[in-house]
Symmetry: C2
Subunit: 538 residues, 2 copies
């Protein structure tokens, strides 16, 4: 195909899109107190990894790599602490082998061997986990294989009548969309990691996507799933709806590779939207902005986009710099004009004191001549959204601490949660780092009974202690969420990092059922040990 | 409260609403070949039940009844075969005791005793199961207790900010709505059994409700659930959304009393709709009617009502008698006028050759002066819908066979499925009964990837063999569904009657997980043995 771009082994995305040393310095200069020079990026060819503890049988060797670059790039996800550890060359947890199955039979064979050999298998899609979902040191096991599904990258069938597609789990967002586009379809699932994450990863982690309301998680688009487990392959029937017992798919959605390896799914796809409208509104007060969003979430209008940015987030993303809250609203349809819906949304925003920005009267007319948004705030926000992970890595190289966490809570608790997170996190950051930090918030998804706030944290790290400092800050954040009975994660999954909060949140009775299911489907306990449940004592 | 109506112990609903002997005769005369006189209704005081095999300890005796009427009315659900067997006085499977807990502690105590005493516990809401969900003979157990939750009938809290209510599982539809109405709210979940079924029953069976699109099952309205299991109480947090592992609630939704006893739930409620519009359209051809419904289901308009009646069903319900297909459409909102949405739906119906009936031009104007439907076809249909179960019992008393089953399948298979069911069932009915029967169909719920057809069967039974004849007919129906890989149930649950089809449909790997979960939560296997999974060999 020529012109292949190379993925960064240590940080986000494409190697050639990473900040240069000069950019790191320039960007880092915005935050006082950072390091005077960026961390150098370790030379991938000079990585000093421990010798592999295990060797695959001959039949599997064609799938396996023990090349240092493969092992290094499969050691961590892409959390802040992952990037820091990679930059510092801390790769003790590198998997012994990376397996690249080409088809489902390969997956079955790897699991069979691993079960016998007591080798842990860590399913790996795009490796964009920010919760330690793909990191396992292998304690108690004969070794660790990272099972990279990226060769299962095809859209196998498109079914226009039922508007569904059978898609392999290793397909990345762009490749999947490229294969749907010629037929006029789209999955329309755009997590921030879209470019560097896979369908299987989205399903295994209950990814949050494009739609801010209604169909927020990938879960809602699943028609049927195929999952390889150590005791056999599970395939649910293609059904638009069913009431036959507890949903089989819902057991595997969010199972994070601990119950099986998702190999493909029939997904409900969309026709590409023909009608799109977007506006933004600004509010002087949090209370009124939240009231507007709550009314929208309970109105049944179900806008595709409904993101509320707090003043810090608005300033950071360039949408508004005057201390106001910014609400970005979007409606879309493949079927009919959406002007009426937009007008109703605008009415709600105005009724709660919102000033609808950059919305000329003509922009809410029935004209759909220009379906793309003309709203600059929304465009700025989107651009910042996609650039953010590279900027995070640039600041990380300067020992800046830049990380996010998200949750969901009910409307009655959102203001207190927001206040506590921003206030207490400010105090914790000051205590941990000795310098003031910054905590911003946006609501990424909203429901009739509450919103999903997403917090961004910036703080001044001390060279060499960045990851430990972040861990202290994050632990405080998790405590605040637990206190408010807000979920430990809305769409970043549990992995290993969220286990303490998850253990508090999850009903013990359900833990017993999940543990029993795990023992039934993965008797040797080889699948992603330590996510969701404790790694078995061996 | 005075004026208490009495529930029928043998048939549907209120005793005083059952057909009289004269009505049975008159109604039965419409079907040639039925019995010449209705089955007499057995005298409840003269029922000859076996002596109870077990006795509750003294502490539980205030909750327990062994009165014949209690035992008889808790022997069966309300399937056709249940009504016939009750009419014929076949009550061998009567539970030994009926427990009426007044609070959750009572439920815990009953399960504790039953676990020790090896007594099977059959959770019982309204007893409207049509799949053998509440019937267990007790083989291998020391006895059977029917656990009637109807005293847990209160709305405990209404939370207007988050638009949610905490509701006890034993609350029947009307009582629950009565408690929400003064605050302007509604759960708006109206299964056909609404009057005689409970929230807990809806949750345990994944009931299908009011909305024909989008939020079709009760599942979508659950914010959190509280479930008593033999190993402890499970309570999920009140969260608008979460991505923390597989959903705990989704394990209990559809668990049919086999994993635990649901005692209460926080449910997402609705403001009462202020804007409602309804129309009907008729189509000469199935193919075009289905194409219209498919476009509607894929349009994103998400009408509250979208029910397609085949010509037989339309005639039966009095909506149309001229051999056409009738589509009943309804839109509603508590927030904004719905005329625009209705206009778009009407456009779709017309584009596919539908004739929009009884829709004067003014009726699609912006006027909302009369929010109630003015469409007679829709009103007729609704009335027939609610009267149907009493008519079924009237015909059952004349040895008519009247029963329903439902499924869901993808759009590409719906016409073949419909043709096969109507044709082959006709042949089976003729073979089994020696007389022609009638098979009607309506689509009750629709999804972007397929509809949920609901079939009604009428046939001439032979006195004394009615239930066996229906069993033969139903077995043929299940085979057709399996052949088309259509679900064994869309919203009637699995119970004991659907087990063969469910076993074929359910992935074996998921069965292993469910079996393991059951063993973990109900180690003594006392909970509703035989639903979803085989009753343990003892």
């Amino acid at each position: 195909m020529g012109n292949q771009r190379t993925r960064s082994w240590w940080g986000w995305g494409w190697e050639d899109a990473a900040f240069s040393d000069e950019e790191c310095l320039a960007y880092g200069a915005r935050m006082p107190g950072l390091a005077s020079a960026p961390y150098p990026v370790p030379d991938a060819r000079a990585l000093d990894l421990a010798a592999p503890r295990t060797k695959a049988p001959q039949s599997l060797q064609p799938l396996m790599s023990d090349a240092p670059l493969d092992r290094a790039s499969h050691t961590y996800g892409k959390a802040y602490r992952d990037v820091i550890r990679a930059l510092r060359g801390q790769l003790d947890a590198a998997p012994d082998l990376v397996a690249y199955p080409s088809d489902e039979a390969d997956v079955v064979n790897v699991l069979d061997w691993a079960t016998t050999a007591e080798v842990a298998v860590v399913p790996f899609g795009g490796g964009s986990s920010v919760v330690g979902g793909v990191e396992f040191s292998g304690e108690g096991y004969a070794g660790v294989v990272s099972l990279d599904l990226s060769r299962l990258d095809r859209v196998l069938e498109i079914d226009p009548v039922n508007r569904a597609a059978r898609i392999q789990a290793g397909a990345f967002g762009p490749a999947l969309e490229d294969q749907l586009r010629p037929d006029g379809y789209t999955l329309r699932h755009y997590p921030q990691s879209f470019e560097f994450s896979t369908l299987g990863g989205w399903l295994a982690t209950r990814s949050g996507g494009h739609y801010a309301t209604l169909h927020t998680h990938i879960d809602d688009f699943v028609e049927s799933m195929r999952v390889v487990t150590p005791v056999g392959i599970s395939e649910s029937w293609r059904l638009p709806g069913s009431g036959a017992g507890p949903s089989p798919d819902r057991l595997f959605l969010g199972s994070e590779g601990a119950l099986g390896v998702i190999t493909e799914a029939w997904m409900r796809i969309q026709q590409r939207p023909q009608f799109r409208r977007s506006v933004s509104a600004v509010f002087a007060e949090a209370t009124r902005a939240l009231a507007a969003v709550r009314e929208i979430a309970q109105s049944g209008l179900n806008p595709a986009n409904c993101r509320l940015l707090d003043p810090g987030e608005a300033a950071m993303s360039g949408t508004s710099g005057d201390g106001q809250w910014v609400l970005v609203l979007g409606v879309e349809s493949a079927h009919h004009p959406v002007d009426d819906a937009l007008n109703l949304l605008v009415e709600i925003a105005r009724a709660h004191g919102g000033t609808v920005a950059t919305l000329a009267p003509s922009a809410v007319s029935a004209s759909e001549a220009k379906p793309e948004t003309r709203d600059q705030a929304a465009a700025n926000w989107r651009s910042a959204f996609l650039r953010m992970p590279y900027a995070r890595d640039g600041l990380a190289r300067m020992s800046g601490i830049v990380e996010t966490f998200e949750t969901a809570t009910t409307w009655d608790r959102i203001e207190a949660l927001y206040d506590d997170v921003t206030t207490e996190m400010g105090e914790v950051i000051a205590k941990v780092t000795g310098a003031p930090g910054r905590v911003n918030c946006r609501l990424t998804h909203v429901y009739p009974d509450g919103p999903a706030p997403y917090f961004s944290v910036m703080a001044t790290g001390r060279r060499g202690s960045e990851a430990a400092m972040w861990d202290d800050i994050k632990a405080a954040a998790m405590d605040i969420l637990t206190r408010h009975r807000a979920t430990v994660t809305h769409h970043h999954a549990v992995g290993r990092d969220h286990r303490p909060g998850y253990d508090r949140q999850r009903p013990d009775v359900f833990a017993a059922a999940l543990t029993a299911s795990k023992a039934a489907l993965d008797p040797a306990g080889i699948l992603n040990p330590g996510v969701l449940l404790p790694a078995p004592k061996r």
